[in-house]
Amino acid sequence: MYKYDEYDQQMVDTRVAEFRDQVSRRLSGELTEDQFRPLRLQNGLYLQLHAYMLRVAVPYGTLSSAQMKVLGDIADKYDRGYGHFTTRQNIQYNWIKLEETPDLLAELASVEMHAIQTSGNCIRNISSDQFAGAAADEIIDPRPYAELLRQWSSFHPEFLTLPRKFKIAVIASDTDRAAMRLHDIGIKMVRNAEGEIGAQFYVGGGMGRTPMIAPMIRDFVPLDQLITYSEACLRVYNRYGRRDNKYKARIKILVHELGKDEYTRQVEEEFAHLLTQPIEPPLAELERIKTHFADPAFEAGLSDELDLSDPDFALWVGRNTQAHKQPGYVVATVSLKPVGGIPGDASADQIRLMAQLAKDYSFDELRVTHAQNIVFPHVKKADLYTVWKALEQADLATANLDTVGDIIACPGLDYCSLANARSIPVAQKISERFGSAERQAELGELKLKISGCINACGHHHAGHIGILGVDRKGVENYQLLLGGCEGADTSLGTITGPGFNEDGIVDAVEKATNFYLEKREDGERFLDTYRRIGMAPFKEAIYG
């Protein structure tokens, strides 16, 4: 994985010093809260319902075990013993003290981490496929391109006060595991007819109150124009994105209002101009970055045999592991969704245990997924049982990946000052209702996503089953959506009808899943059945 050189290290160290200065100016009263807010936000420091919250960037979701260990230590030292992994592949801490933040950031910097641009109206942490570099189906590892974009977007002086936040995802396989088309810019690395690698640009996707699927605006950007093209996309947005209404300020609205063709025309015009400016890093820089993402020293000639005589282990292997490109290895996902647990939360001890296991059994590497789980990308099959045993003892071996128990949920009204309703208790009740392994297996792949407000941090639009918490005259109310999906066949969910209270929504989910079991045809997932028969019969089953 990527290792900082002296320049990268100097950049994060300088940022720590700068923020230390900003914090001291705030504490002395030289900066008012209005002046300080945009500065702290660009360093990932929010004010939430109970306290300051700090969001730490995990670039493209990749972590070393040393970094993961520090994340655990920070949870103990500066927070209340736990952290929350987010749908942006980041981690956030809920109880941070302003005066301690500079020291915390210095500790992060000591392991090449930071909280730069994890909030604010700027280019945010760049997300990617959590199986990058390990997946059997990728055409190339997307992370070097994400790293190139990370450096370009960090402290880009023209794009730090955009109309609104800006999220970029980079993938390199047909199976889209990063919800690429629901980003402000989604980039898919592709191979053209000549066999060259390039970037396909999708612009103007997003969730929030106006969900949109990004249209493709260019099918191939050569690698030596990647930064220039990105800069053109951003400049058009910075100049013409709406600033009169924050709810219409995302690039999806600009692309929608201009129309895809007109936005594309403006980008191409700006691109043609920017090609005259020497702003593109040389390909040698990309090559330098790529050397950091070389395969680890896999052993050759390993057997793919796995002893599955322990039924619990067999269940977990069946659910939580994926094919690896290297024979004898698997990709293993640690579910942070124990039955009745808080999705995405992990204790300091659990974080350190995962760090140690990655060090011992996964070439020192971990990934954070947008579904709020942790991945060991390169586990030797011969070690898998040992890993699973260790996970099991730490309540980290729940076998429910991509099932109804693997719920994405935002922090909701329990933590978030923007939320209208609590998300976590609903996730807990659903996870308990569908807690048995048999029931989850029977339902198969079912992505359930809960947001506590219209901002959609819980990706409810993209859930096969989505739940949106709303405030109805001071009482929490939950709307049900069906038919959303991220990935290659991205679709947006549709609201079924009137909302429910907290217990009612759990019952409604059960009615929907029971109806699916009744109606499904061979091999159909919940989503497939919904797409085949449509909303009306589901609505009848839920409300009838």
Partner: protein
């Protein structure tokens, strides 16, 4: 009644205006009537608090209850982590909030 809440600048902790100063316990919150804007201006200016705002509440039997669930959760702590709330040993605390 009108009550006033804000955050402590250094720690970020949620605080409530008592009439004389700031308390972590919502039950200490004073009825500020129409003085909210003036108190906010003075207290934020003196850096005693930031992000302050006025909410509706009611007082019964010595307990102050914010009108909206958001401020009730704000006053207690996350309902999904009773151990981290202000009343970790009160089994009914969460039921009173929601």
């Amino acid at each position: 009644m009108k009550i006033l809440t804000g955050n402590d600048l250094k720690s970020g902790a949620v605080t409530w205006w008592t009439g004389k100063g700031w308390s972590l316990d919502v039950n200490d919150a004073a009825d500020i009537g129409d003085d909210g804007a003036a108190i906010i201006a003075r207290e934020e200016g003196a850096q005693n608090v930031f992000a302050a705002y006025v909410v509706d509440g009611e007082k019964t039997a010595g307990a102050v209850r914010p009108a909206h669930i958001k401020e009730r959760i704000r006053a207690l702590g996350p309902t999904v982590r009773p151990d981290l709330t202000l009343k970790p040993n009160d089994p009914d605390a969460i039921a009173r909030v929601v």
